[in-house]
Symmetry: C3
Subunit: 280 residues, 3 copies
Amino acid sequence: MALRTARNLAYCLNSIRNYSTNGPLVNVTVNEKSGFATVTLQNPPVNSMNLELLTEISHTLQQLEKNKCRGLILTSASNKVFSAGIDIFELHKPNSDRISQTWSFVQEIWIRLYGSAYPTVAVINGHATAGGCLLTLASEYRIMLNKFTIGLNETQVGLTPPTWLIDAMKNTIGGKQTEFALTAGTLFETEEALKIGLVDEVAQSKHDAIEKAEKFLNKFKRIPPHARSITKAKLRGANIQALVRNKDKEVKGYVDFITDPQFQDTVGKYIELVKQKSSK
Amino acid sequence: MALRTARNLAYCLNSIRNYSTNGPLVNVTVNEKSGFATVTLQNPPVNSMNLELLTEISHTLQQLEKNKCRGLILTSASNKVFSAGIDIFELHKPNSDRISQTWSFVQEIWIRLYGSAYPTVAVINGHATAGGCLLTLASEYRIMLNKFTIGLNETQVGLTPPTWLIDAMKNTIGGKQTEFALTAGTLFETEEALKIGLVDEVAQSKHDAIEKAEKFLNKFKRIPPHARSITKAKLRGANIQALVRNKDKEVKGYVDFITDPQFQDTVGKYIELVKQKSSK
Amino acid sequence: MALRTARNLAYCLNSIRNYSTNGPLVNVTVNEKSGFATVTLQNPPVNSMNLELLTEISHTLQQLEKNKCRGLILTSASNKVFSAGIDIFELHKPNSDRISQTWSFVQEIWIRLYGSAYPTVAVINGHATAGGCLLTLASEYRIMLNKFTIGLNETQVGLTPPTWLIDAMKNTIGGKQTEFALTAGTLFETEEALKIGLVDEVAQSKHDAIEKAEKFLNKFKRIPPHARSITKAKLRGANIQALVRNKDKEVKGYVDFITDPQFQDTVGKYIELVKQKSSK
């Protein structure tokens, strides 16, 4: 292990691996040869994005940045769920400070992942709903396994996606498909998602998906990283700048919306419904 | 009738039905069960949008808004023409005040229909040209019958579509197809329109189209209307705000353009051409 | 010839043809009947855009504008290369003034061609890379012959495309495909380019391509040119205005980037590589 660390100085360093041992909810491994980091979400059963998971994802991305990662594969330890998005229990009868922190971390993760200098792939080896889909839209490339669903279904629980997320979806699948998907809160099955361009490739297994992800990342092997990252910034910078400008105001608006009795009523009923379903 | 009205308080109320009896050019019926309003244009022979029809459409939309309509199906009483757009005779040797009012109503209809809180479908059961196509682009979903044509053919008569309409078309069919369509003033046949995404579905009859329209509107049955309308506003708000900011200036520019001798010459020749064709 | 000139007063005049005899790197011919100008780049072997070629292209476009050209077909005298883009030797150990002029001409060509009042087609009868692809994206329609490649491969040599070019590509092939293409510096073969919409039609020969180009231009025969050009300006104006506002700043940034030792190192190595390949 010491030997491997020593060899690996060029890219994703020591600190990441150290970090990964500290974070129980996010596992980070680095392929020494390629310099690609694999970040695996492991918050069973459905990688709910509670404040703890969000904090760990954010710190992980910060470390990858510092250590000049050459590429990121984002995936799930579960073989059923990539991520079910923000933990619904964070939204139910919330403490204002905690919900404010939660949303700040969502924003920060977006800024770091959507704006990362290194290339990024989501290996979607399970359902990716709401915040789970957000993580895949922040990536550059999406590879999905069959028989799962993906989508921003926020409206189904009475929420609305933030404008920067809407803009990223428009950039990915076009204006009209985005409107259809978001107003109805549609969850797409793998094949539909491929058809409308919400995912870029379908894989037969996680192993197959990882291979395809590495193939995508290897495309950039001979591209000067400096030119690549400036180009990416030209493509994605306006989205991030708009979010940065509006960061605090958006957190406030989000807290107000979540703590509003009308929303609390909707989310309360939703939780009841889910409980009834699972008890059957 | 009194019984039906009483049952129907939840959504599209009394006033709409009353209104519909007042407006000879626009018929409004409401399905009590679903709360969906069907708005039928009936200005024979081609639903030319003269000042009178525009006024009625605008008032109808205002009433639907007030009465918290749950969904709108927009269609034509003719089985040949959905709408041929702004009445060419409104543009020929016009009175400045009247043409100014005409364009203000076009803007207002756009603001109300494109920005409606409730979901909207156009059942395009005939040709939809220029302003007729505008009404369908303001809707969320477009279902078209076979063997008709649709498009913004303004350039053919020497006009240019307003920027907010151009932006909505770009959002619907993408930048390049919009440029091709608008610079050439192309009218697309049903199948072509489906192919480029200018319409979303093809129906075999008006009955079939209405069923498909209801199916689209029913998608939103379980979506909290509040979340749906905020999401729609996030998607379409910038377009409407840009129009609102520029409203008066655009009316003035339009009046100047229409009353210019060069345009009057073009439109005069166009009317002659149409007259010659119809007399043959 | 005198007779032909006399007949031709209505559109692309005398001065153009005179100009064409003066410019050794750009040939201009005008079809008297249609008023369409064919502009042929002839800077062998690969139509490298050095300062001389750029100057001539810019002047040609200026003349076409003045003379109210009815349509432009842009093509190459080579049957292998449409254009290989900005001459790499202009970028290697450059004189600041000359590189500044070079980039100013690139901007000016964009403004004139992307914003031209008349319709434009690129007949891509050879490879169109970097600046070569830029010329085709500035056109309204792209017809390409088989077995060539096209793309903005700037990142491969450590450069990044300007934002106005990125925006035009997004308008042509959508946001996601643009990001894929630009971050990897992808060169697409004809069939792939057709599939993603980077070209609009494939031709079997240059003769076939020219016929298709004329067919495209003839679509506008009955469209009042005034309405067409205003519509085009509404579609493309924001792109051009953004460039105009940022013109000088962009030239400065480009000069700084090009003259930076890091870039000079990259470009030096690239030239070595090309030399080694060609000596084999």
